[in-house]
Amino acid sequence: MTQSESGPAKPGTSLWARVQSSAIEQLHIRLESLIVLLVLGAIMSVLSPYFLSVSNFMNIFLATATIGVLAIAATFILGSGGLDLSLGSVMGFAGVVGAWVAVTAGLPTGIAVVATIGAGALAGFVNGIIITRAFVPAFIVTLGMLGIARGLALVINNGAAIYGLPPAMVYLGQGRPMGIPMPVIIFIGTAIVMHILLAYTRYGRHTLAIGDSENAARTAGINVSRLRLSLYTLSGALAGLAGLIFATRVNAGDPTAGLTYELTAITAAIIGGTNLFGGRASILGTMIGALIMGVLQNGLNLLAVQSYYQQMAIGAVLILAVFIDQWQVRKESRV
């Protein structure tokens, strides 16, 4: 019924293109980002003798854990064609709620943990309800929530941090079972679960489908608004988890925690190959994106580069990543 050539392997297909496409198909990652990570690591290990060591790698993972969990949330939301600018604020809000429940209210650690993640999920649920029921654009709703959640975090304890979390809670941030920091274990565990959810379940496939074409998803019988609502709730819950990691690591519910983290998280997701406009996303890619940011920050720290320059480097990497992505897409569509 249609013309054009058949067969999967076109004669002109280069080895690079074939390796690239099988990497995307099997691992859901773009090879470029992996290469950037390796090259960056090689450069850093040449420049600094301290870079190549197990303890430094552990440091990189530890420093990446909070941003990494937020980046996983950003991956789901961007993949669905949405946007969540409130990630960092919700993370700070959730951390303060957790500390308040554990310290000020004096409730058991289990309840405090649930309250932290629950506070994040609630904020995400409110985002989702307004976006799907009142049809206010996600950009506006989550921008508003960025202000509201930060304000709430400050209001709870009059702008002061809440110190002195119970030891069981602090263990979540500072414990080191088998020498591995707890935040790293939580981060890797979350990434594995979320990778399976995104790549191998109907939920994940439908998430990418609504980001790709909401119309196609709706005609296929997918309940788009219910899925969006659950995605924003999931995003909030992950921000709550990031807040839990952060608060237990510094042993305080700090109302300024997570300031501008949403931008770093979104950057990590995009560097990892998530399409800014939805339809394509992978957790493995995001992990690589988050590690690129982590290695960059860690390496610049080891080289004693001022943090102002680090911010500039991260901004430049974001623009570069989107440029490479757009360039790839344009190259592919020029068939």
Binding site: M1, R202, R205, D212
Partner: protein, 256 residues
Amino acid sequence: MTLLKISKVSKAFGPVSVLHGVDMSVDRGEVVGLVGDNGAGKSTLMKIVTGMYTADAGEITLDGQNILDDNPGERRRMGIEMIYQDLALARQQDVSANIFLGREPQRKVLGMNFVDRATMRREAQAMIDRLGARLPAINRPVGSFSGGQQQSVAIARALTFDPKLVIMDEPTAALAVREVQGVLDLIRQLKSEGIGVILISHRLNDVLSVTDRIVVLNHGRAAANLTTTETNMTEVVSAIVGSADMDHAAAHEARG
């Protein structure tokens, strides 16, 4: 035997009334052409049948069962498929993902449901082969395909789950001459398998050559219900235009 029965369906978008009590029916193995000018209400009526729009009044039954309370997903499961004019494909997803979108086969691992990608790929390939469509590769994003190839994917999606009724909205509008014949052959094949088909088209030659009946919509009313073997281009055009200057219009269509 009546498959789909549309009775007195009305629809308004705010103050704009689009459909006024439309009646229409499709039997098993019957091909019904739905024609009319732009804005006559063809697409609106079909979107009410698939559940994308709700009806303000009226009744629609499939095999005698009222379907107006079912959502689009439930109506697909009951066997109503539509191939949209814009194809409604997810362009960054591959062929099998599009064909199985919303109905992915699952397999249980440790009590949890995972999408069975091997089965998806195998059955998608089988469906593409059955249609005789030639695609560059089944694991490529459909957005990289040509228009005709994308249409093959949309058709495969509609036919994979044994539909009872297939609605096609302008399936031949963007196709080359040879591809048009392919679509018309496909419609005849569906008919022979006892599947009901509704064909929306502006290409009256296609409609006259493949349908059993032609329903003409004019300003949201079913203006005519013609048996194809007993009608001709002039009658169809006059029902569409609904005015006296139809001779000129009919002569033009007959030439084309």
